[in-house]
């Protein structure tokens, strides 16, 4: 048995109301844009068909990356190599060229190569990318870092609203069987029951997506923190030396990482870059091969002139948490059925938001707050306050 006093319940209720009101608009946007984003792989395949790489036997040798980079350089003489990326699903390699060290959307030119034969498959199209558009709206409302942080605050407010919502659930619903939906009740009662049923049943999923949303929003500052912690130490010995002019083989560097991390596969190589890596190193990101370790990236810094490995190893705990937050936010780690379930949870969350908004907007004679205030002031009475709350919360039309 739990003891509750009306004052506590009133405070929880206020927290639930205000935290929900603050985040509802942007959260609704995030839920609606998030729904197609769950299926971004499927949409990409549909909207942006690409040239398939050659079929090869398992264990076939891979083609030279240096030659791919040379081809890209010949095609875009004004640009310099920015990064090389390995496709997760197919043996395709993206050679990304850019004029700037910090390219913005649309400033990267990519050539896509067959990883085994080394032949150029196609140049990445510069057409409107719906999924990219939705993702930028979803994560930063087209405002860059300030937008990301705003969405992070919204996600945090959402977590508060979930916790406070779960706390008021008990005092509001204790007289009813779990998850009761009074289908024959007045309209407001039905919306009230629906809000509570959907909210309490999907609470854990919503908490995980909300909390991982907070983490993902902090991605830029957290990576910045890591670079600020590690790079000065790495760069210190190079102080005063001229900028490198000789760039050793990418193939050799990737091979070096492969030998050092046999349980992993290389995923991205960043060319020397003062913003994303170091001006003197290839930054090679390798990942594991199991569902969970394939989300964990290990960085290796290789001196572009000497080939010396200056850093190899794990990331700090806050970046590990960030890496695990990605799949748990996007739901893209368990095949299509998981994505469909993720989409259904998302639809449920949209209904929770809309029903919450309805419950707040629908005008009533006795708002829940007034009822709670009255009950807080009723010191002596053992009157059935919970019942009154249910009456005022649910039955007023």
């Amino acid at each position: 048995m739990a003891h509750l006093n009306a004052k506590t319940v009133r405070n929880w209720y206020r927290l639930h109301k205000w935290s929900s009101l603050i985040c509802t608009a942007l959260l609704l946007m995030a839920c609606i844009t998030g729904l197609p984003l769950v299926f971004h792989d499927e949409f990409d395949a549909l909207l942006q068909p690409h040239v398939a790489p050659a079929q090869v036997e398992a264990g076939a040798t891979t083609a030279s990356l240096d030659q791919m980079v040379a081809q890209a350089q010949a095609r875009f003489p004004a640009l310099h190599p920015f990064s090389i990326g390995w496709d997760d699903d197919e043996p395709r390699i993206f050679v990304n060229m850019s004029a700037s060290d910090n390219p913005k959307d649309g400033e990267i030119r990519s050539l896509i190569f067959d990883a085994h034969t080394g032949t150029l498959l196609e140049a990445a199209k510069d057409s409107f990318d719906l999924m990219r558009f939705l993702l930028r709206l979803h994560m930063e409302i087209f405002l860059g870092l300030p937008g990301e942080l705003t969405m992070g605050v919204m996600a945090l407010t959402f977590v508060l609203s979930l916790v406070s919502g779960a706390l008021v659930y008990g005092p509001f619903m204790w007289r009813l069987d779990f998850g009761t939906y009074r289908r024959n009740g007045p309209r407001r009662t039905r919306w009230f029951d629906l809000h509570n049923l959907l909210g309490i049943v999907t609470l854990t999923w919503a908490l995980v997506v909300g909390a991982t949303g907070v983490m993902n929003a902090l991605s830029t500052p957290l990576f910045g923190l890591w670079r600020a912690q590690t790079l000065p130490k790495i760069m210190a010995p190079y102080h005063g030396k001229p900028v490198p002019t000789y760039f050793r083989s990418v193939d050799e560097s990737v091979k070096q990482v492969g030998a050092a991390l046999p349980q992993m596969e290389v995923s991205v190589v960043i060319f020397p870059n003062p913003i994303f890596s170091s001006p003197r190193h290839y930054l090679v990101w390798a990942k594991g091969k199991t569902p969970v370790t394939s989300r964990m990236f290990t960085p290796t810094l290789i001196d572009v002139e000497t080939g010396a490995v200056t850093l190899s190893g794990g990331l700090p705990w806050y970046l590990r948490i960030l890496e695990l937050s990605r799949p748990l936010h996007f739901g893209d780690y368990g095949g299509l059925p998981l994505k469909i379930l993720w989409g259904l949870f998302d639809v449920v969350l949209i209904i929770v938001l809309v029903s919450g908004l309805y419950l707040w907007l629908s005008k009533r004679k006795a708002p829940i707050e007034e009822e709670l205030d009255r009950l807080v002031n009723m010191e002596s009475s053992q009157g059935d306050f919970i019942e009154s709350v249910i009456e005022s919360g649910a039955d007023a039309q």
Partner: protein, 65 residues
């Protein structure tokens, strides 16, 4: 003023669903194949509960009377 209610009755089913959901969310991270299937089944449980509660006729419209 204080009020008594059965914590277990109100939050018990919610707690069970929370555990089932958490298992579903984690199992697909741990492995492929059977782990994915386990995840799908676990995550289908809360959605099935919603469908059941929403569509099932109420045995008693409410226990509050």
């Amino acid at each position: 003023m204080s009020q008594l209610f059965s914590f277990r009755k109100v939050y018990g089913p919610a707690f069970v669903l929370a555990v089932v959901t958490a298992c579903g969310l984690l199992s697909a991270l741990l492995g492929d194949g059977i782990w994915d299937a386990l995840s799908w089944m676990a995550l289908a449980v809360p959605l099935a509960v919603i469908a059941w509660k929403y569509f099932a006729p109420n045995r008693s419209t409410s226990t509050k009377n």
